[in-house]
């Protein structure tokens, strides 16, 4: 990839930083998250990130960009189904996943949409980082 650093997960690092930022509350309310499945591909204009967040509506998605990291949190909506559980495989916790961003990504130009629990985030490359052809004069 011609010297580019592909974005990758840094979940342990970020978990540690959130713990050290506010250790008291971190210990008092231990929030558990589920890591959602994601697909990540790259083309000339930038990156497309697809994250599976079943049970998360448009209002339940929180996307933050901070310090070169893209954090996605998905809060599950909807009332818990009534009745006693006979069989349980689904997890009730909210989703969270953090990605390190390629420095060439224009963080002011990030578009996201969610449809049937599938979050699509379009990350565009900064104009200066796009491949250019230079003609010799």
């Amino acid at each position: 990839m011609r010297g580019k650093i592909p974005p990758h997960d840094t979940i342990p690092k970020t978990t540690m930083s959130t713990l050290t930022k506010n250790p008291e509350t971190a210990c008092a309310t231990r929030v558990q998250f589920v890591t959602p499945r994601a697909n990540f591909h790259h083309d000339a204009n930038g990156y497309t990130l697809e994250v599976e967040l079943p049970g998360v509506s448009k209002d339940g998605v929180e996307i933050t960009v901070d310090d070169g990291q893209l954090a996605i949190i998905g809060h599950r909506s909807g009332a818990p189904s009534q009745g006693r559980g006979l069989h349980n495989e689904r997890q009730a916790a909210d989703f969270r996943r953090v990605f390190d961003l390629d420095p060439s990504i224009d963080t002011t130009n990030i578009a996201a949409g969610i449809e049937q629990g599938l979050l699509t985030v379009k990350l565009h490359k900064a104009e200066t980082a796009k491949p250019r052809k230079i003609t010799v004069s």
Partner: protein, 151 residues
Amino acid sequence: MSILRYQTPELTAWSPYDRLSSLRGFLDSAFHLANYRPENGPAWAPALDVLEDDEKVTIVLDAAGLKSEDFDLSLQDGDLTISGERKQEEDSQKGESFRSERFFGRFSRTITLPSPVKAEAVQASYKDGVLTVTLPKAEEAKPKKITVGLN
């Protein structure tokens, strides 16, 4: 019919029943192999919950990124089969892929219902990537209160 369970090999925490689950995984893979057809491609199985109360049985299935017409539900001999297909979009094939954790292709889950249901009153809805199937219980399966006479 597939008895394949929900699978997230690398994302779940270590289970205390690790040995048991590896035995189960072995048995599942043996059945899976018997059920395998090349045209079906690699199978996947979405996670589901089965809930029951006095009036109905509810099945909740997590499957993000499908369309409601992609699901196929059938009820036969007290077994509910939910099958469907998640299609891969054309444009995601383009470019270079860094991470490919999502499953595509066909899936099928079969649940043996805990009680008889009214087949004509079954309802299904798909919202925010969650399929909810509500199966009202048949009259004979609902609990009845019997008052004991005093004399």
